[in-house]
């Protein structure tokens, strides 16, 4: 059952608590049509069961922000045909009544469903519904008690209203960080293999094949690493969020393994050249091994910091 009250916009007008009652017969229900498209319809009535004509009903796609509007007929009904399946935010506006917003209604294109949901009831600004009026509400929790509402708790509409844009930002962030996480895990494979292959490539070893294998694995590791880093760097920031907890360590480690992942191949190329010339690796190139070890260690620590609880 759906329960709604339209609040009267004009102070001092008594008894104008409005109820949007979208019942099984008149509730916004979803009708299967073509694949991926649905119909949303319903009826707007007031607290006394009177139909509200010329009310504007606006459906806004939560994901894409696309808006469709409809006006209620003389019987209070409205209808949206061919709505793409998805979540919609609904706004009801009528002259003399307080705007009502339903944060989300799901339209499924492939099934006929009746939205059976209790929605938050408000009350008129200057004319609180009497018990008798409350009794007329569908799903009223009690026949004689006026149930408290969110506004009774001091929560403003801004606090209770959904924010589709913020949700979309969070969705994108999570999507990118999931890829970051998977790529990080995948990168660990060639990274470990590169470290193992280094044992046959450095030192007194003269094997060209070992050096080539080490170089190839290092190259793959570097490529995967930078793809991993891209998804972390490009993931959208959520304004007003202070970084707390293990993620701080994870990010701090990036300041070690990030430069390390740039330095290691440069030093590696220098070491490779010297080794290819038959020289002993010397000078700054000799830092290739230690830098690589520190880089791999920082990368592993970063991964563990968000995987295990210390």
């Amino acid at each position: 059952m759906l329960r709604k009250i339209f609040r009267n916009r004009h102070s001092g007008v008594p008894g104008l608590a409005f109820l949007v009652f979208l019942s099984a017969a008149f509730a916004p229900f979803l009708m299967a049509q073509t694949a991926g498209m649905g119909t949303l319809m319903g009826r707007v009535i007031d607290a006394y069961g009177n139909r509200v004509t010329n009310a504007t009903v606006t459906a806004t796609g939560v994901n894409n922000g696309q808006m469709r509007s409809a006006t209620t007929e003389t019987d209070g009904s409205y209808k949206f045909d061919d709505l793409p399946a998805g979540n919609y935010r609904l706004k009801f506006e009528a002259a003399g009544f307080k705007m009502l917003e339903i944060p989300a209604t799901t339209v499924r294109g492939t099934e006929t469903a009746v939205l059976d949901e209790k929605l938050e009831a408000g009350e008129p600004v200057n004319a609180k519904p009497t018990s008798a009026q409350q009794d007329n509400l569908p799903n009223a929790p009690s026949s004689s008690i006026r149930a408290p509402s969110l506004s009774d708790l001091g929560l403003s509409p801004e606090q209770t209203q959904g924010n589709a844009r913020e949700q979309a930002l969070l969705d994108k962030r999570t999507h990118m960080l999931k890829i970051h996480q998977r790529m990080g895990l995948i990168t660990m494979g060639p990274l470990i293999a590169t470290v193992i292959a280094s044992m046959g490539a450095g030192g007194k070893s003269t094997s060209t094949a070992s050096r080539d294998l080490h170089t190839a694995l290092g190259g793959v590791t570097g490529d995967l690493y930078f793809i991993t880093a891209y998804y972390a760097i490009r993931a959208p920031r959520v304004p007003g969020t202070e970084t707390r907890g293990p993620i701080r360590f994870h990010k701090a480690m990036a300041w070690i393994h990030g430069p390390g992942m740039i330095m290691t191949p440069i030093l590696g190329i220098m070491a490779f050249d010297e080794k290819s010339k038959g020289e002993k690796v010397h000078g700054i190139a000799s830092a290739h091994g230690p830098v690589a070890i520190v880089t791999a260690g920082a990368f592993g620590a970063a991964l563990l910091s968000v995987s295990l609880k210390f």
């Binding site: 004689s144 969110l150 606090q159 209770t160 913020e166």
Partner: protein, 179 residues
């Protein structure tokens, strides 16, 4: 004579008092969700719940609301992910409604039928047991709501390809005060 009039008046007025509305206000609260993962045991805590109870003729309607954003697990990244997976930006408030007889305040334990709206879904929990303790005019209520991710159609988030358990029990610790 005056005494008799006073007594008659008081008796006559009793039904009026008995039917009068009374209210309860949530003074303090700690709500803690628990998430289990093969590698992690995580808890998120909120102290930001607001609540009110309205009583009339022996029956009380309670509403408790808590912002999804207010839960703190000690890790901002995890909290943001929790907010995303529970669609906390679209549905920023968790509400709990219940109806109890006013006489419950005199019990040491009680069972409540809860209706919880969260993540755009509504779930009903029948006969959830709570403990109740009254001290100095304040009523302290503790209990655990046996909620699950599936109740609210939330896909279990995963870490290192391992999903968290479906069960997310929520410990409730509230102090109510008559208004």
């Amino acid at each position: 004579m005056n005494k008799r009039i006073l007594i008659v008046f008081l008796f006559a007025a009793l039904p009026t008092f008995a039917g009068a509305d009374s209210q309860w206000v949530l003074k303090q609260s700690t709500l803690t969700y628990h998430v289990s993962h093969p590698l992690h045991q995580t808890e998120g805590v909120s102290h930001a719940a607001r609540g009110k109870g309205v009583c009339h003729t022996g029956q009380c309607e309670f509403l408790i609301a808590v912002p999804v954003k207010s839960f703190d697990s000690g890790d901002s990244n995890r909290d943001l992910h929790t907010l995303q997976v529970t669609r906390g930006a679209e549905f920023p408030i968790v509400t709990v409604r219940t109806r109890l007889p006013e006489s419950t305040a005199a019990s040491a334990t009680f069972n409540a039928d809860l209706e919880i709206q969260f993540a755009g879904q509504t779930a009903q929990y029948k006969q959830v047991p709570f403990k109740l303790e009254t001290q100095g005019g304040e009523t302290h209520i503790t209990g655990t709501i046996p909620s699950t991710l599936a109740d609210f159609k939330i896909d279990p988030p995963s870490l290192l390809t391992m999903p968290v358990k479906n069960e997310i029990p929520v410990r409730v610790d509230m102090t109510w005060q008559p208004q």
